[in-house]
């Protein structure tokens, strides 16, 4: 995994609450056995009309949101099924940072484990960003090192991120490798079980 230190990118707004993973990646696309290629199905039922053409009403299809790498959403983003296909699909589509006032737990974890950054900001900050995102040229700079988000107009916000995940993200580390180095300890634990 490539490390993530700072990212400057275009912002797409999606002012919806309780966006669930069934919407992020509908289940008819879960049958692949690879991790890649899910981006084309991202938000499929919202993004495309019944005849397969793009739905012009849908946020990510609007001209101002093309090429966005940062998604701003509302409360409880990523609720529902634990499917990791949801962060894979967002990532494959080009989204690397999701900002919301709150996330569903499993989705939050799944993002971090895949090198994506879920950013929790205050409600008023998110509302400000949702407003701003309506402009096509609006960009944000996200720093994992400083745990801050800035725009060119003086907006600045800090977000929480544990030291552990900060280090993992910056270095693009594989969690399994780290754990396997603790094999002795795991063995000792197993030996202590009756």
């Amino acid at each position: 995994m490539a490390g993530l230190t700072t990212l400057r990118g275009k912002v797409a707004g999606m002012n919806r609450v309780n966006v669930d993973t069934d919407q992020i990646i509908p289940k008819q696309f879960l049958k692949r056995t690879e991790k890649t290629g899910f981006g084309q199905y991202l938000f499929y039922d919202w993004r495309f009309l019944a005849d397969g053409t793009p739905n012009p009403e849908f946020e990510l299809n609007r001209p101002e949101n093309q090429g966005a790498s940062i998604l701003v959403a509302n409360d409880n983003f990523g609720c529902g099924s634990s499917r990791e296909h949801a962060p894979w699909a967002l990532q494959d589509y080009g989204i690397q940072v999701v900002i919301a006032p709150s996330f569903a737990d499993i989705f939050h974890q799944n993002c971090l484990k895949n090198g994506m950054l879920p950013v929790v900001l205050k409600e008023e900050e998110v509302h400000y960003l949702l407003e701003k995102a309506k402009s096509a040229s609006y960009e944000l700079t996200v720093s994992v090192e400083d745990k801050t988000i800035k725009d060119a107009e003086g907006f600045q916000a800090e977000f929480p991120l544990s030291a552990y995940w900060q280090k993992m993200l910056i270095n693009g580390w594989d969690e399994i490798e780290l754990t396997l180095q603790m094999d002795d300890q795991i063995k000792r634990y197993e030996d202590s079980l009756i």
Binding site: N18, D22, K27, K31, T33, I176, M182, I186, Y189, E190
Partner: protein
């Protein structure tokens, strides 16, 4: 000061703890199915890694198995996923309850019925309804595919300890009010994220009086309230359910183990980060009307009016639910006509669920224009139900009797609710498109689903003859 079962189990499973990091937690049991595992196994293979404890790993196929003609899988992609799991289990030495196994079934139904699920365990599965297993007094939670890979390779997971939440249900449930109604009621009152960041312990007289299958129904939907997991402290009911199951110890060893299990229960004076109290007498049979499980009302109630919404977010979410479901504000629940009925899923597909549905179906007929299917949770459930003649009751009443699997709960197989149709479903999620693009799901108990099937619309099961048999 006393400890909760959550604290006890967490502490017992810590392999490594360090300031500023999540805990490294040992995982006792890892359940695997065909949809969330292929990428995990291929990750192992790419890095030349092994499965650390195949003996603590158990697999089955459930999400996309057909429920009719089950050996004739026509969807090539589904077939590929099942075949991939088969090969992975063989290569890595994992036991698989395959499609032709008498032990096959929904992963959250077979874990408990085989006795794989035991009190005191940490249990994970790449499926959010893993919380079901918490009914036995275990910490059981859903994980994503990266975590599946991590568990396969290390038998551990890095986890930050969630907070503790007590949900106490006091009193006695009325006739016709079932475990499903309890959890739907909690969701309708407290919303879809009251449990975020918490592990729930369900307690109180109502939970104590419940059978294990009922406790599983309640714990199953903990995730619908945003909780990481939900559990019930083990008691005699837990022990008696487990006695004699395939993977639990037998004889004297069982008695000794049972003692240890009982000692895991939360201490009387344990304290929780948050507490919720529910009065059982307020709970009626529930029906979800919207597109998340908290959008639920008593069968005697109605859909809200927009001006009743507490804030802008709620208003927006109610508005979009009404549009999707094609409802007017204030519409009566009892006026909702249904076209499909699904009795099944890891929430309500066990023997007791089928018995209750059969009580209502007995001697009646599925209403014209309604298709009703009954999908037992496992092959074991199916065999037991058939031994009692439940299949005959359903078939005579015009229900379809199917093979075990997830089926219409998420419609990854051929069992789909067509766009625009309303389905009375005993499953756990009513999200847009969950049962097929444009499908309209109503979450209900098995008795309410059967009552809807024979009437063609929602009726209060308490008003039907034979309701006394449903409790």
């Amino acid at each position: 000061m006393g400890k909760t079962i959550i604290d006890k189990l967490w502490d017992q499973h810590i392999v490594h703890r360090e300031e500023g990091k999540p805990d490294l937690l040992y995982i006792d049991l890892h359940l695997v199915h065909e949809v969330t595992s292929p990428q995990a196994f291929s990750g192992l293979r790419m890095k030349n890694r092994k499965v650390r404890r195949p003996d603590r790993t158990f697999a089955t196929v459930d999400h996309n198995v057909p429920t009719v003609n089950r050996f004739n899988i026509t969807d090539p992609v589904a077939n590929n996923q099942m075949e991939t799991l088969r090969q992975n289990c063989k290569e890595f030495g994992i036991t698989l309850a395959d499609i032709n196994s008498p032990e096959q079934g929904i992963v959250h139904v077979i874990g408990p019925e085989l006795g794989l699920t035991q009190p005191g365990m940490t249990i994970v599965c790449g499926d959010s309804h893993t919380s079901t297993h918490g009914a036995f007094g275990s910490i059981a939670f859903g994980i994503g595919t990266s975590e599946v890979e991590h568990t396969l390779a290390t038998q551990t997971l890095w986890q930050s300890k969630p907070k503790t939440l007590k949900v106490q249900v006091d009193g006695k449930l009325g006739t016709g009010v079932l475990a499903k109604d309890v959890i739907l009621y909690v969701l309708s009152k407290h919303g879809v994220n009251f449990g975020t960041g918490h592990i729930i312990e369900y307690c109180g007289e109502v939970i104590r009086d419940m059978t294990m299958e009922e406790r599983m129904t309640v714990c199953n939907m903990s995730i619908e309230g945003g909780a990481r997991a939900g559990l019930v402290s083990p008691d005699e009911t837990t022990i008696e359910y487990l006695r004699g199951r395939k993977y639990v110890p037998s004889g004297q060893e069982f008695e000794e183990t049972a003692e240890k299990w009982l000692a895991l229960a939360s201490d009387e004076d344990a304290t929780y980060d948050k507490e919720i109290y529910i009065d059982a007498s307020e709970i009626a049979p529930m029906v979800s009307w919207g597109t998340n499980p908290s959008q639920t009302a008593p069968v005697t109630g109605r859909v809200p009016f927009l001006n009743e919404c507490a804030n802008e977010n709620e208003r927006r979410s109610v508005e979009s639910a009404l549009a999707y479901m094609d409802f007017k504000e204030g519409q009566q629940i009892s006026d909702i006509k249904i076209q499909k009925v699904f009795i099944g899923s890891c929430t309500n597909s066990r023997l007791e669920d089928l018995r209750m549905a059969a009580e209502i179906a007995k001697g009646r007929k599925v209403a014209p224009g309604v298709q009703a299917i009954v999908v037992p949770g496992s092959q074991n459930v199916k065999v037991l139900a058939e031994a009692e003649g439940l299949d005959k009751i359903f078939l005579e009443a015009g229900f379809e009797w199917r093979e075990s699997g997830c089926s219409m709960c998420l419609s990854m197989n051929a069992d789909i609710v067509p766009a625009g149709e309303h389905c009375a479903s005993t499953s756990n999620r009513n999200f847009e498109g969950r049962q097929g693009a444009g499908s309209r799901t109503h979450l209900v108990s098995p008795a309410m689903a059967a009552a809807a099937a024979v009437n063609g619309y929602f009726v209060d099961v308490r008003k039907m003859e034979s309701a006394e048999a449903v409790h």
